[in-house]
Symmetry: D3
Amino acid sequence: MFFQVQQLINPIVADEPDPSAANALQEGLGGQFGEMRTMMQYMFQGFNFRGDAIPYRDLIQGVFMEEISHVELISKTINQLLDGAPGYKGDKFEAPGKGGHATMDNAKTEMNPHHFIVGAQGSLPVDAAGNPWMGSYVHANGNLVLDLLDNLVLESTGRLQKCRIYQMSENKTLRATVAFLIVRDEAHEMAFAKALETLGVDWRSMLPIPKFESHKLPEVKKLLDAGVHREQYHFRLDGSMMDKIFQGASPAKDETDLVTLDRPREEYEIPIMPERPEEFSPGLDPELQELADALVVAKEKVNGRGKK
Amino acid sequence: MFFQVQQLINPIVADEPDPSAANALQEGLGGQFGEMRTMMQYMFQGFNFRGDAIPYRDLIQGVFMEEISHVELISKTINQLLDGAPGYKGDKFEAPGKGGHATMDNAKTEMNPHHFIVGAQGSLPVDAAGNPWMGSYVHANGNLVLDLLDNLVLESTGRLQKCRIYQMSENKTLRATVAFLIVRDEAHEMAFAKALETLGVDWRSMLPIPKFESHKLPEVKKLLDAGVHREQYHFRLDGSMMDKIFQGASPAKDETDLVTLDRPREEYEIPIMPERPEEFSPGLDPELQELADALVVAKEKVNGRGKK
Amino acid sequence: MFFQVQQLINPIVADEPDPSAANALQEGLGGQFGEMRTMMQYMFQGFNFRGDAIPYRDLIQGVFMEEISHVELISKTINQLLDGAPGYKGDKFEAPGKGGHATMDNAKTEMNPHHFIVGAQGSLPVDAAGNPWMGSYVHANGNLVLDLLDNLVLESTGRLQKCRIYQMSENKTLRATVAFLIVRDEAHEMAFAKALETLGVDWRSMLPIPKFESHKLPEVKKLLDAGVHREQYHFRLDGSMMDKIFQGASPAKDETDLVTLDRPREEYEIPIMPERPEEFSPGLDPELQELADALVVAKEKVNGRGKK
Amino acid sequence: MFFQVQQLINPIVADEPDPSAANALQEGLGGQFGEMRTMMQYMFQGFNFRGDAIPYRDLIQGVFMEEISHVELISKTINQLLDGAPGYKGDKFEAPGKGGHATMDNAKTEMNPHHFIVGAQGSLPVDAAGNPWMGSYVHANGNLVLDLLDNLVLESTGRLQKCRIYQMSENKTLRATVAFLIVRDEAHEMAFAKALETLGVDWRSMLPIPKFESHKLPEVKKLLDAGVHREQYHFRLDGSMMDKIFQGASPAKDETDLVTLDRPREEYEIPIMPERPEEFSPGLDPELQELADALVVAKEKVNGRGKK
Amino acid sequence: MFFQVQQLINPIVADEPDPSAANALQEGLGGQFGEMRTMMQYMFQGFNFRGDAIPYRDLIQGVFMEEISHVELISKTINQLLDGAPGYKGDKFEAPGKGGHATMDNAKTEMNPHHFIVGAQGSLPVDAAGNPWMGSYVHANGNLVLDLLDNLVLESTGRLQKCRIYQMSENKTLRATVAFLIVRDEAHEMAFAKALETLGVDWRSMLPIPKFESHKLPEVKKLLDAGVHREQYHFRLDGSMMDKIFQGASPAKDETDLVTLDRPREEYEIPIMPERPEEFSPGLDPELQELADALVVAKEKVNGRGKK
Amino acid sequence: MFFQVQQLINPIVADEPDPSAANALQEGLGGQFGEMRTMMQYMFQGFNFRGDAIPYRDLIQGVFMEEISHVELISKTINQLLDGAPGYKGDKFEAPGKGGHATMDNAKTEMNPHHFIVGAQGSLPVDAAGNPWMGSYVHANGNLVLDLLDNLVLESTGRLQKCRIYQMSENKTLRATVAFLIVRDEAHEMAFAKALETLGVDWRSMLPIPKFESHKLPEVKKLLDAGVHREQYHFRLDGSMMDKIFQGASPAKDETDLVTLDRPREEYEIPIMPERPEEFSPGLDPELQELADALVVAKEKVNGRGKK
């Protein structure tokens, strides 16, 4: 069974809208090696797990839980990068384009027009080339060694692609999220590499993938200094055996140690996204708005908690 | 952020393996109107929600949380229906088929051979015709009325398909899970229909879809008698405004009332699936098994909690 | 603009249900070389036609019109082959499976369970392997010679596949429809081959494809004797230039002549398909049925015309 | 059986070519909620209809007929927006690019290069992100209430997306067609909402979706003033029972009444698209052209009828 | 540039037709981890290779060459398993089914009817569930370590699936081919594991995947005894640097040594597949046959070489 | 069995990078009528060939061999057009973007961002709209006449699309490759047209498709003057019967004769692609590079042969 807290795993940093950066980041969400894939792959591996090697199952399921938060984080980042992109400044109940003036004139030449036609300046379950996510991305072979090795390749490819996306834009909203994912993908590489280490492999000089001086990227360095790349969270309310595996010397052979925690040390408020009349989103007219408002008198009590 | 408890939302009932029933049930998992779709659709609608009509967001996200449990429940049910299907009784480290005898002879004529070749007698992210799940199934338009109406269609179609699957097999493992989902889909119909009712619609005699005397199905009747079809859970550790909507008279106009709870009244132990040597799952040989065993001395402490 | 008459282009012949024959016939409906493809390919070629060679456009559009009737004919044939397949004999408003007895027990092992879960024992836009139809099947290059040659290949492949399907079942419902399509595909081969002949090709001994003594198939012979394989209809209410091309000696070099008509010489009543309670189709309960009945007092006047 | 008149349901308005507007409009043609989907969904629902509630079948099939005209209208609009886009002005039989000068230099950076490589500056069965149309878009459940509700969602989503596309360009060719479709989608919303009203629902303040002052869009206002949003055509040459449903007060509760007609009040000439040598379309060289010309001496008689 | 010799890499062993075994084997041909994937993945990695680490490129390309032979071998094996499956014994120019007798009656209930409708009892580019092969299966990241690790996962998953298929049938035609591929996939695991070993990894007890006593499978044992699992061929007519990597102690740590050869030690005649009139394949009627025969007077000289 | 020589079939001509030209050329690689399709279609037709009409099989397989070279040529051309496109000039082991400066800033707005995120500025198995290649593109019907006619359509459509791509850019790298493919596609049209001619067709004035004065394109003229459009190579090390068909007067009726050769008259060195640190390709850090270098002391001996 699964539970939610309305908080983000990393903050959304403010910067200008950038729809093409949003589109690049779609690869990290709905791409073949993106977060929807990791989320669903670990979910299926966990649900289909055979045998009693429980620490391995708990490791896989713990990363599964984190991946939902990553999907949320990327989704919110894409939304922020898209929000207001075509620049409409109309009032709440005003009919956009009413005078024959095009309010989303740029939208038709953005990388993926679906961000404006299908979504309301919001994230989509597609990759950076606009292809929908597919169930065949999920690998759950049921062979423990192979599934762990497949997961290592998955995290490594995801990290490689995010390293490339990092360089495609200086937008701070993009970079804050991508840097966090580069670091967390490294932690997940460690998780699966360590699990394979318990089954005999010695990785020596090979990890992480890709291997480069990632601390030279300033947003990454901050997280490395905080040790975020060597922590793993199990997100289990009833205890976990993940720490049987995720502990001791890192398989990156860099003198660091792995640490299992029950949840991240910090969590962050989720900003409420503004209405976008030019998208008819949420699209309540005055009459419907009045009906909806009748329900929400107590809303500030629930959603105003912010960063702890 | 998201959390897990290693418990099921409904129990797995024992009966004989039935691979074709497992395949039919795949429609409820990876079909266009299956639980992966509902899970991902409500997830995207929640993450992309615009405006401050928080009770509607909380309603959608609460159902999202439940859908992950449904994916888990269907996955475990499929596994149970597939498990041991080809009837191999070999020992743990024995090479299957070693004497030239085919140990999975039936597998090649089962409805979807992928259950045996790609998965290890385990669930797959595909539908009952073997098509992989697609991201394009997810509808998240960003227009509140339309999204709610789309969700109502989604739950209704899911319920219709499960009513059809119910009649395709008398297997108790299948029927226990399908009956539970028929009832919960009805609850979700109520959730979205009620949300639309707050925005003005009067459903009169139309609901639920399909409309028939579902209490004549014995497994369903038991759940209706317990009121499971009029409850909704929010699964939020930090509170929810779902109950602003999900309360009062049911839109089915049948004299019942809707009740919001923080979590289901009961939860159920998840059985550990046995090893299947003929699938090389988990595929540890004596040497690897010894390494893995070294990690799991404490396992019984964590996983032996059962039904509360 | 487009118009409809509620009549079939060939009659549905009665025989026993045969779901696997229905599934084979899906290839002729939703397969890569099936009638949905021909319908959509000629539609796009017609709408995208460039230049003033109007007789070629009118030829393509005339065949487009016929293909919609073929889609209708195959769809109705599949429905007939599926109808009642699992053998449920319940009453109209009775809850199927109510006593725990499976009313569609066979359905889960039929070739495509979607016929029973997704459709209500009805045709689907998929092929015989369950793959959904795709827009990429449509070829509309805009080069006249190439489009005509592509159409010839399309009709020839469609005819080849139907010749194979003919041999896969002796069911009379299947064979009546398939034989008609074998003959009409030959007519369409002639249409596009003749159009290429006007642009210079001499086909000599090559046509039709596949080349065999099709008159030895009794259902085909009857249609050949009636000359159905050398007629083409334009279905235009405002006149057509199709007959500039489709006239004169057949490119099959068999001493026959091509004849253009405005519509087929005969048309056939469309049977009303019975309700199927086990599919909840149409699924009106007594209350809803009463509402619907209020609308249909005059129905017999409209639908009781039959074969002219 | 189906028939054609070579006339459009709405005129093509002249303006400059705009390939990115053409690409946005592809969503309305080949997108998941575009006209190909509506056409095929209503076609399958009509062909698979069960039971004797004929007015509902006739309503669905009447809208099916209209959707073919919409596919034609969008296709022709896309063609007009693409035509001549890269600006080649060569003569009919001249080899384009012959001196090494690129005649379609812009084409490689347009939104979908397939418009120039695969099509000859013509419409394609794809959406605005270039994904091919899929058969799985078609929903034909066979449950009448559910199919009608699904159709309402389909028309509402189509209308929402067209409202968004309207704002993405001021091009008059685009806006004339999109405005017409916004209005007709509203009529189709009324059709299915009214059908559900006959089965009990009271929509009160909810319709149409999206709900906004659409008369503030000038092209839309003109059509609303003419009442086009409250008419529905049955396109049946042998009579229809559609008017049993589509009559009386509109479910939008705006004091208007629904009117069933046998066909639209006006129809419009289809312009002949010019040859495009740079696309080799139609690609007849002088020798082939001479052969083709021999067939078309009488063409002006057939195609020169224009607006009635 | 690429060259062909009309010889097989392993012989086709005779046994009864078995269409469901043929279908299972399709996973090894057109599945996500089948030979079409390995062929295309190594092809793209080779063509896109960056930098001057030539031995790694030559290793990848050498395996690419072998994979084309594997595709050929599986294709021929599937053909053999399908050939004559429905049992028609008609004469060469006879019209099948001419008397109303269904000559391919079984075909419509075989696992994938496409084997009989789309192919002429021949292999298809699809997997065992009928899904077409997709380009997105190909992983060519351009990062050397990651590509090698991805290749190791690919070969391991392929080998796991073939081990499962081995157990699904005792058919000798199937098992001879599958056993050969199990052994060659192990050789390819060694190739990529050794390449990673040169970059630092120590695999210790982990390989091969899956790890079991494969010599207990009699067809496999024969090949292991001949050392086929420790050879790799480069198939280069102009020399290769593959042997810089593929030499020395096997990474399986089993006291064996790796050996690079320019081509396999043996090669095998390709049987000519018989005509199948019921499939209209090749479908030459007497007139066309006579024309074709005029070309082939010398054919026996070319094709009668057999096993060397 | 298959063999390789590390040489190209046509030289790569130097010019500036042009990512949008690279993207257009993807249609010729991974499009529905691109070289991956021709390669796989002829491969399957060859492997599935029935009967003893060996010259036809040898013709099909000879073209198959050439198509692998075309895939290689297009792949290398795309790589050249992409290489260095975003303009990063960093050193080999330097962390790109280290100071927060975006090194691939342009990449996110290029036609297909996958060229930079998924590939390392390298070719992909996709078309110009980013859709992955699909196995359903392959047509292998098993009917000889139909397969030959399908191949003629395939080559004609491929040639038409390349003629369009030619005009989309003046880039010399693009045009050299495209002109070569226009000419070779014409040769392949001749191959299949001639094969059909042996079975009776007289093509008269129809070929090639598209029909225009291609010698007015300077890069094409050079190849026509050299007779490259009338040669075909069989690439068989053990002899071929292709020349029974591919000889005598060309079916284009232009006074030329067809010539069968065992391989092309010339072949060309394959340039080594430089490392791209901003893509982490090949991504060896100093430590890994040292390990790799230990293997490659003899590399210049193997790869420095150039044009013969």
